[in-house]
């Protein structure tokens, strides 16, 4: 596709996945991500792919498990309560080192919460979510274009590191329509697939497993996983730096809230206030190296999240306690307003007088 088309974030993710060679999609209905399965149900037959509306989220993630063992690209999607159900499979796939892309179009939680947008699954996505010592890569788009681009990045990273990769977005991005150019990656088949289950033809049998009953083997397996996470942490940090030059006030926000913060940065920069926006694009690994570099000029941080405060913990782990880390959080699924962010910025400026 060479022309921009008007799609919602959910549809952009679906088409980007197809263009990235994902021909196996399994999912279960839940709002606000239903456009993905609707799109896939129509699209997969056109490309000789497979669409199954599974009997549960648990079945869906385990169908991706099966397809992933064969070396084919596969994806499932859901929203917060459904993602909780998938976590069993994600933990197994993390241990079995199976590539998969999982889309979480976040809604309010805990429980059924609300179908409106939220960012309250940050802990679940970045700190594990399922049982065991593991991480998944977590990417957070902030536009429909980025929904498409990061979906394709997610497939690359999943194959490169043999790891589940999450796209963590909120309901607004899933539903919002923007012009988008869907790319077509050309390195789809360039990854090692000698470990896959394809029938042991002219080779020794392969086994995909997460059980290691021998203590030494078990320890070696866990260490192998941890070494992979260390490698990813040093290689795959991603962030957007928006007007961060000499920033004394640094707003940190991802996803839709980052877009609400941008006009605030613009407004105060015009007034001569040195304010910038740091937008994590990879939530795990958290882009701590770039953030640390900005620390030199910063006097106060402001973390803006659609939650009671989850990413703020990673910010504090990164920047320490020498400078104030302010917080603006909105709960319950109500969109935050530009005015709310401005008011918070005003209180920070007031503290410092004309100094900032």
């Amino acid at each position: 596709m060479n022309d921009k088309i008007l799609l919602c974030g959910n549809e952009a993710i679906a088409e980007a996945a197809v263009q990235a060679g994902c021909l196996f999609y399994y999912g279960y209905p839940i709002t606000p991500q239903n456009e993905i399965s609707a799109y896939m149900s129509k699209r997969m037959p056109e490309v000789n792919g497979v669409f199954i509306q599974s009997e549960s989220e648990i079945a869906a993630i385990n169908m991706t498990f099966g397809t992933s063992t064969t070396g084919k690209r596969t994806m499932t999607s859901s929203s917060s309560p459904g993602i909780s159900l998938k976590m069993e499979g994600v933990s197994y796939m993390a241990s079995c080192e199976l590539p998969v892309v999982v889309i979480n179009v976040m809604r309010v939680g805990p429980g059924l919460g609300n179908i409106t947008p939220s960012q309250s699954d940050y802990f679940q996505a970045t700190k594990g979510g399922g049982h065991g010592d593991y991480h998944v890569i977590v990417l957070a788009p902030a536009s429909v274009q980025e929904c498409a681009d990061l979906t394709q990045t997610a497939f690359e990273l999943a194959d490169k590191y043999r790891i589940p990769v999450f796209l963590l977005l909120d309901g607004i991005q899933g539903q919002m329509r923007e012009p988008v150019l869907i790319g077509k990656p050309n390195n789809i088949n360039s990854y090692d697939k000698t470990w896959c289950l394809t029938g042991a033809e002219n080779r020794e049998p392969n086994v995909v497993k997460s059980l290691y009953l021998n203590d030494n083997e078990s320890e070696a397996h866990q260490e192998k996983l941890q070494n992979k996470y260390k490698l990813i942490t040093s290689n795959e940090q991603r962030a957007e730096l928006y007007k961060t030059e000499s920033a004394q006030i640094l707003i940190i926000a991802y996803g839709t809230p980052s877009r609400i913060c941008k006009p605030v940065v613009d407004k105060y920069r015009k007034k001569g206030i040195k304010i910038g926006l740091f937008r994590p694009v990879s939530l795990w690994p958290f882009p701590k190296d770039e953030l640390k570099k900005l620390d030199l000029s910063v006097e106060e941080y402001l973390v803006v999240e659609w939650s009671a405060g989850q990413m703020i913990e990673d910010v504090k782990l990164t920047v320490g306690s020498r400078k104030p880390v302010n917080f603006l959080g909105v709960l319950g699924g109500r969109p935050m307003t530009v005015k709310e962010v401005e008011d918070k910025v005003e209180t920070i400026i007031a503290k410092h007088g004309v100094h900032i």
Binding site: F24, E55, A200, E201
Partner: protein, 243 residues
């Protein structure tokens, strides 16, 4: 004179199964069938959570583990990706009928072109002998110390009865391993299941009544007698559906 030899598809290592367990026989039957049907290079098995979780230590072909109960979903993902391969799950009664009931019912209803070998020994073996969905009424287990009480827990469940009216289920049979004759019958049921898959006909499931002397509190011989005299009354042997 015919001399029996183990097929290449089974590794000649020491078994971890208890004396008198049926899994050893069934692992061998699977390996023999893979050999006889000449599908060693195109078979992909899914091992369950339970006593048979390390089936891949015995079988010499591609095997995946699955989370407890999820083998039919994993098999679905494999078979849909590689329709020319021969895919089977090997599952116990807790795996298939308790935690994995949803996965097996829906895989069957979709008519996934897989073979399911369902080993029913009326008990959870791996975890120490708890009640299974297939535990017989009155049977004592670690978690039914006074015997399974039908009014509180319900009677044992029969998966073949559940699946027999499903349009996309083409073959259902139940065998046992209590004698060479029954073992041969069971093997033919399993062969037919794999053949049905290779002919692209649809879903099939073979249930095998298998002894667990350890958690039945019986000798190996008495466990076989128990199957022949009591278990088969709850779970009748034979071909249940063949279309």
């Amino acid at each position: 004179m015919t001399t029996y030899t183990l097929p290449d598809e089974i590794r000649k290592i020491r078994s971890h199964y208890c004396p008198g367990c049926g899994h050893g026989i069934l692992h061998r039957l699977v390996a023999e069938l893979v050999n006889e049907l000449d599908i060693t290079e195109k078979v992909i098995a899914i091992a369950p959570v339970g006593c048979a979780v390390i089936a891949y230590d015995y079988w010499k072909f591609d095997v995946s583990e699955a989370a407890h109960g999820r083998a039919p979903a994993v098999a679905t993902g494999i078979k849909r990706s590689l329709p020319d391969k021969v895919v089977f799950t090997y599952q116990g009664d807790g795996d298939l009928l308790a935690i994995g009931l949803s996965e097996i019912v829906h895989a069957a209803n979709r008519g996934e072109k897989i073979s399911v070998f369902f080993v029913n020994n009326n008990v959870y073996g791996m975890t120490g002998g708890q009640m299974a969905p297939t535990t017989l009424s009155g049977q004592k287990t670690l978690t039914t110390p006074y015997g399974r009480n039908e009014t509180e827990i319900g009677p044992p469940i029969d998966i073949l009865k559940i699946l027999q009216d499903f349009k996309n289920v083409v073959y259902l049979a139940r065998g046992t391993v209590t004698s060479p004759k029954e073992i041969n019958k069971t093997k033919e049921y399993m062969r037919k299941s794999l053949q049905i898959q290779m002919d692209n006909k649809g879903f099939s499931l073979i249930e095998i009544l298998s002894p667990c002397p350890t958690y039945w509190g019986m000798t190996a011989i008495n466990a076989l007698k128990h199957i022949n005299e009591t278990v088969v009354k709850n779970y009748p042997l034979g071909i249940i559906k063949d279309e």
